[in-house]
């Protein structure tokens, strides 16, 4: 855990963290503005729709933080201090992804708390806002599993990650059903939709059936793939 804690602390710079929490909290203001005079049922629907649609700001915040986990070590020239230690590459990959998940969860909880405050102000039920937190946590786990290896492998990883979030998840997955099935945001949404009993928040699930079990299974596969890919990269690629 020493390595995971070190990597987590390193990316958690105060200024950056405040900016990214603000980015993760983007859905709160539009939700509050559109729901403050809505009825309870309508407000609940609005919450699900706005978190589903504007929650992409959270994905971008997670991207910025998680690609930095190993990329910053590499760019700063400090990677030898962790690479040249008697730590198996599997353990190093796992620690890096755990640090990325930790960073994503920090943003998820902070961003959700802001949205929760807005939701509480208009009297939304606890189960609905809990589903919102589950959505962010599940998405954060999936994004960390993908973006941590991406940061290590690809020099312009933020650009590549943004292309995935904006082009693939936000635009193409809307129209291509096959892509929707592998969209991390929609996988997380399928879990939260099942909990909130909202079959299609923001009309984003299209062909995906909400379900906690299926969503978790897909996330587990993403985690395993991310771990295998990062372990391979740490073994085979130059560390500097």
């Amino acid at each position: 855990m020493t390595l995971a804690i070190h990597l987590y602390r390193r990316v958690m710079r105060r200024g950056r963290l405040i900016a990214l929490i603000a980015l993760s909290s983007v859905p709160a203001l539009p939700f509050w503005l559109s729901a403050y005079d809505a009825g309870p049922g309508e407000a609940e629907m609005l919450y699900g729709d706005i978190v589903a649609r504007l929650g992409f700001s959270y994905a971008i915040a997670v991207l910025i933080l998680t690609v930095a986990i190993l990329r910053e070590e590499r760019d700063a020239g400090t990677l030898p201090y962790i690479y040249m230690r008697p730590i198996s590459r599997e353990s190093m990959a796992a620690s890096s992804i755990i640090a990325g998940i930790g960073a994503a969860l920090t943003l998820a909880i902070a961003g959700w708390l802001v949205t929760f405050t807005a939701a509480a102000a208009v009297g939304i039920s606890m189960s609905t806002v809990t589903a919102g937190l589950v959505q962010l946590v599940a998405a954060g786990v999936g994004y960390a599993a993908v973006f941590v290896p991406l940061g290590y492998l690809v020099p312009r990883s933020i650009l590549a990650g943004l292309a995935y979030i904006v082009v693939v998840e936000y635009i193409l997955a809307e129209v291509v059903t096959g892509l929707a099935q592998i969209s991390l945001w929609r996988i997380a949404l399928s879990i939260s939709a099942d909990i909130a009993d909202n079959p299609n928040p923001g009309d984003m699930l299209s062909a995906i059936t909400p379900g906690v079990g299926g969503g978790i299974a897909k996330l587990a596969v993403v985690l395993i793939l991310g771990f295998v890919c990062l372990t391979w990269a740490l073994r085979k690629r130059d560390a500097l």
Binding site: T2, Y81, Y83, M84, R85, P86, I87, S88, R237, D238
Partner: protein, 306 residues
């Protein structure tokens, strides 16, 4: 002497640039100086030996293990990288303690304290590394390398930025580590620096092995090779003719406004040059020895070997 590090037919290239070319060499216990001008491939060799970069061709083993396959070898191997990079927001103590924890050392705090004492950094141990001078950062990096009590220590330009007192301290420390039976490789482009640490030297130029031997061999190469001297005089042509017949002068070339003289011994030429000029009624405007860098010595060694 047992070979701790075996480098066999090693090549490393980046695209079209060959950084290390077909290098075969062995290192054993004690201090070995890795000499060469900037761009000679020393840092690449260090990184490949350390397992940070994979060989494009050939192999490296440390104590019989490939560091890229067996990370457990890092219990016995440490590197002080050339880069100034450190964790700027950590104190020297936290940095060295982190190194100890990652190395799974017993009593990381005690080990860190000991390593900081070894590099004489205990007085500044709780200051942030971001506020450290280059020399202090180097010492913190050395402490982080020593904290795991390594048998093999790779030091890439470890004296860069250190002041004379710090240099003397680190040189003494490296010599002691070598005397303890550890394999210590110190890269440098300054012969005098390496000379104070060891007699054993490996010289590299353009990614190739230029010489392996003692510092005395390198010194001898510096003395034996022809030396270049540039001379400007009131009559370059006449002075050139006079020098052609002078003892110890190997060649004279008339360039646009000066003479390029190759002499067996530049010091001897400098002593006799005024007499030759006076004898011929020629005024000397400028006498400038050239080609004195270690780089030129290495190049001479490489060319001489071909």
């Amino acid at each position: 002497m047992t070979d701790t590090i075996v480098v066999n037919e090693l090549s490393k290239w980046f695209g079209a640039k060959v950084a290390v070319s077909e290098l075969t060499i062995r290192f054993g216990p004690g201090v070995t100086g890795l000499l060469g001008p900037n761009g000679a491939g020393k840092t690449t060799l260090m990184r490949v030996v350390a397992g940070l970069q994979r060989p494009s061709q050939g192999s490296v083993s440390i104590m019989g293990q490939d560091p890229r396959v067996t990370p457990a070898i890092y219990e016995k191997v440490s590197l002080v990288p050339e880069d100034e990079a450190v964790y700027e927001r950590l104190s020297a103590r936290s940095f060295v303690e982190l190194a100890a924890r990652l190395a799974k050392a017993d009593d990381p705090r005690g080990r860190a304290q000991g390593a900081l004492e070894q590099v004489d950094l205990i007085g500044s141990a709780d200051r942030l590394l971001g506020g450290f001078s280059k020399g202090m950062r180097q010492r913190a990096k050395v402490a982080a390398a020593l904290v795991s009590d390594p048998d093999v220590l790779l030091l890439d330009e470890p004296l860069n930025g250190a002041d004379p007192v710090q240099r003397a301290h680190l040189i003494l420390l490296f010599r002691q580590l070598g005397a303890d039976g550890r394999t210590v490789i110190v890269s440098s482009h300054v012969l005098a620096e390496v000379e104070r640490m060891t007699e054993r030297v490996v010289a590299m130029v353009d990614g190739r092995l230029a010489a392996v031997g003692s510092v005395a061999d390198i010194r001898s190469a510096m003395t034996d090779r022809p030396r270049l001297v540039f001379i400007e005089a009131s009559d370059n042509r006449r002075l050139g003719a006079a020098l052609m017949s002078a003892e110890g002068v190997i060649g004279v070339h008339i360039e646009s406004s000066r003479l390029r003289v190759e002499a067996a011994d530049a010091g001897d030429l400098a002593k006799r040059l005024p007499a030759i000029a006076i004898e011929n009624g020629i005024g000397l405007t400028r006498v400038e020895p050239a080609d004195e860098s270690l780089e030129s010595v290495f190049r001479y060694l490489v060319e001489g070997g071909e």
